[in-house]
């Protein structure tokens, strides 16, 4: 019955002081689909990604909700089985390509190690696979790159390596956590195009976390707009841009720079919208607290 690649239902998480960081989040990602998660800093976008991958910080506790990865309920699995499942079926394209590679290990062993030690590939098979992926991310001199330490590569090259590594084991779901934020604008475009291309060719579902609506429009089929840990609007990307329903979504769009009119001043999200959001969040928390005491 459940064909979703990822299905999150009513996910709530709290900090030790009781504050909710995720407010009954529901979303799904179909196989081969790109779902964008958009929102401002602190909206909980990254938190959702970490929850799916099982690497929430120890202070954040999931108090409610289910996460189904290809129909398997992550909450019901034993920790070890969960790790194995997540390791085999998901991957992360991280935000900061500088710290996401181990600085003291060469790229080659670092990339093949996972295939060989976790997934049981042969050394030769893993090596061939890595080279194939490096070719797909348009790294033309794999021999040199595989021998490099991470600090010997540029930011764009590192991000290519990380994209190749993410796709190498053919995961069903990739969480891309602001993969272009740390890069400069010209490189951002190439990286985005690469992710889109590999996504199409490999048919991988992606949960794409970003604060950039321009990126959302380019890469995703569906969008969830997040504010303060709550999904305030969810729609097909084309429909969202054609007719945003929620005032916050409209305000976000008005706050996005446009290349057609670069000198137009950007509008900050106005107070009426924020007040509306605050009321919405408060109402949701009230409704949530009642059954939960």
């Amino acid at each position: 019955m459940n064909a979703s690649c990822l299905n999150i239902a009513n996910l709530s998480a709290v900090l030790p002081n009781g504050a909710r960081v995720l407010r009954s989040v529901s979303l799904s990602v179909q196989p081969g689909e790109v779902r964008a998660l958009v929102g401002e800093s602190g909206a909980g976008k990254t938190m959702i990604g970490k929850a799916v991958l099982g690497v929430l910080p120890p202070s954040v506790r999931i108090v409610e909700g289910d996460m189904l990865l290809e129909g398997e309920d992550l909450g019901r699995l034993q920790p070890k089985a969960r790790r194995t499942l997540i390791g085999a079926r998901t991957a992360l394209i991280p935000q900061d390509p500088l710290t996401a590679l181990n600085p003291s290990r060469r790229i080659g062993p670092q990339m093949t190690d996972r295939l060989v030690r976790i997934l049981g590939w042969s050394g030769q098979g893993a090596d061939a696979r890595i080279r194939q992926l490096l070719d797909e991310v348009q790294i033309r001199d794999p021999d040199r790159v595989l021998k490099c330490y991470p600090h010997e590569l540029s930011g764009g090259m590192r991000q290519r390596v990380l994209i190749a590594a993410a796709f190498a084991a053919e995961p069903r779901l990739i969480v891309a956590d602001e993969p272009t934020t740390a890069l400069d604008v010209t490189v951002q475009k190439q990286i985005l195009r690469l992710i889109a291309q590999l996504q199409r060719e490999h048919g991988t579902a992606i949960l794409f976390v970003t604060h950039d609506l321009g990126v959302v429009a380019k890469i995703s089929q569906k969008v969830s707009v997040l504010y303060a840990g709550k999904v305030v609007e969810e729609a097909e990307t084309a429909a969202l841009f054609a007719a945003p329903q929620h005032p916050y979504t409209r305000a976000l769009m008005a706050a996005t720079p446009r290349y057609t009119d670069p000198f137009a001043s950007l509008k900050p999200v106005d107070d009426a919208v924020l007040a509306g959001l605050a009321a919405e969040i408060a109402a949701a928390d009230q409704a949530w607290r009642r059954p939960h005491g």
Partner: protein
């Protein structure tokens, strides 16, 4: 790029000078019976308090002069280097093994492991180290192994603190999270991902600690709590030199200079090695 690297960290000259002195001292220690011009224990009252070779009254064969019992100072320094190096290597290695392991565990696992280990370190460091060493040797009895054990027991905290902090910094890095997502076990990540990144610090500390071990051994010898009084040790020579400072300054000055050069070389050598082998600094 190579030139920039060396001038930026000054690791080239530092590494070679410090390493050169250590190598010289180490070779002298190993081949002491061959290179020492005299028997370090042979007393000869005819030759007491001979000055070093450039002063009037010096005797050939006694390059750095003799002490108040007529024993050759250079030979005693060379044989003293044996004890110094044995203690330096053994004590530093033992302290490193214990301290780094506990530091890695505390820094990587955090939580209760960290709290317990950190509190032990805090309590440990509240003891004044030299008095602690003297107390330990008094309990264990004098002798080479007691000195080594005492130094290791006192100084493992140095490794523990630094490696814990370094490990905590590394454990927060995204590559560790990536390894967890990929499905590596916690201990595997600690040993295979984190440990290689703290090795440069371990090496630098190890070298520094060797220098400290040399000092502590000298202090223990100075207060006559090291090994048996027959074998020459740098601290012992300094203690004897202190008594005849007005008649024979060289008996105090030469072992002091040797000690300082050696300790300085250990710390500089460690820093130089770190600069050279840390792939990020490099």
């Amino acid at each position: 790029m190579d030139d920039g690297r060396i001038s930026r960290h000054g690791s080239g000259a530092r590494l070679w000078l410090a390493g050169g002195w250590l190598l010289l001292a180490l070779l002298a220690a190993i081949f002491a019976p061959l290179v020492a011009p005299q028997d370090p224990l042979a007393q000869d009252l005819m030759f007491e308090r001979l000055p070093p070779f450039w002063m009037s009254g010096a005797e050939p064969g006694f390059w750095l002069g003799t002490d108040s019992l007529g024993r050759d100072l250079l030979s005693r320094l060379i044989f003293g280097a044996r004890i110094a190096f044995i203690v330096a290597f053994a004590a530093a290695l033992a302290a490193c093994l214990v301290g780094s392991t506990l530091g890695l565990v505390a820094g990587y696992f955090g939580g209760w492991a960290d709290r317990i280990i950190s509190r032990i370190v805090d309590v440990w460091m509240a003891f004044p180290p030299v008095l602690f060493a003297i107390l330990l040797v008094a309990v264990l009895g004098t002798g080479l192994s007691s000195v080594i054990i005492a130094i290791a027991v006192i100084d493992w905290t140095r490794f523990c603190r630094v490696i814990r902090a370094e490990t905590m910094g590394q454990a927060r890095m995204d590559y560790v999270e990536n390894a967890r997502i990929a499905g590596y076990g916690r201990i595997g990540i600690m040993l295979r991902e984190v440990l290689p990144n703290v090795v440069p610090s371990i090496v630098a500390l190890l070298s520094l600690e060797m220098g400290i071990a040399v000092i502590v051994e000298a202090i223990l010898s100075f207060v006559n709590l090291s090994i048996s009084t027959d074998d020459p040790t740098w601290g012992g020579i300094i203690a004897e030199g202190r008594l005849s400072i007005h008649q024979a300054w060289w008996v105090l000055v030469f072992p002091l200079v040797t000690l300082i050069l050696t300790v300085l070389s250990f710390s500089q050598f460690g820093e130089g090695l770190k600069a050279r082998f840390d792939p990020v600094l490099r």
